[in-house]
Amino acid sequence: MAQTQRPLSPHLQIYKWQVQMVTSILHRATGIALAVGTLIVVWGLVALAAGEDAFNQFKVCAGSPIGIILLIGWTWSFFFHLCNGVRHLVQDAGAGYTIVQFVRSSWASVIVSLLLTLIVWGYVLSAGGAA
């Protein structure tokens, strides 16, 4: 960023919003969120190894209102990154590159990830609360 005199490429606000842009940005955002979420997995495992008191403490934190909101966020982040990641793997293999397919698979990532989140949390909450 040393040189600021050169012309800049158009930034986000120049473009008309399209679903492919949204999924691309969300892929990175959910990836960062999930990188933070990995720490919860380690916390859970370490607490489980440390003993019942430590694990109960983990369960109380995870089951608190803030814990549940974060867990729902991580669940959707996981499913979105999963669906969109599979979409990217398919594209890496050279398939699905027409504009129509691109738009359609972007919407599929969004919709399927929301559905999977609903199914998981429907199961969790209907079976009597988290943790």
């Binding site: 990188a35 720490l39 997995v41 380690v42 495992l45 190894a49 599979v86």
Partner: protein, 131 residues
Amino acid sequence: MSANAKDLRHPLKRARGLGAAQYGVGHWWTQRTTAVALVLLGIWFVVLVLGLLHGDYATARAAVARPWNAVLLVALLISMFWHAVLGLQVVIEDYVHTRWKELTLLVVIKFIAVLCVLAGTLAVLRIALGA
């Protein structure tokens, strides 16, 4: 690629295929390989956690202690943190433009990831070996 008279690179440089940064496509391939592993391990992990939702402490411990679960959990820890480091690396390289801050962050995320993998793996082993 024909032997171009204007190509000033040594033929060995091209044969090694490692490019200007000396990493070649190693980053790209490892990100995709861990992604495929995480599609399988991630879905398995969600199903495992959902199954343990209403079990008590002893049930959760017994589940982690089962040999296949212990193996897959360690595999999940390694591929998850590896994939996270590769992803965060790209994000840091894209947005952090001060060289020393960039380098510091790149090293810090690797330290955190290695410590988390070791802590998580030790926890799984303690449970699996009944310590």
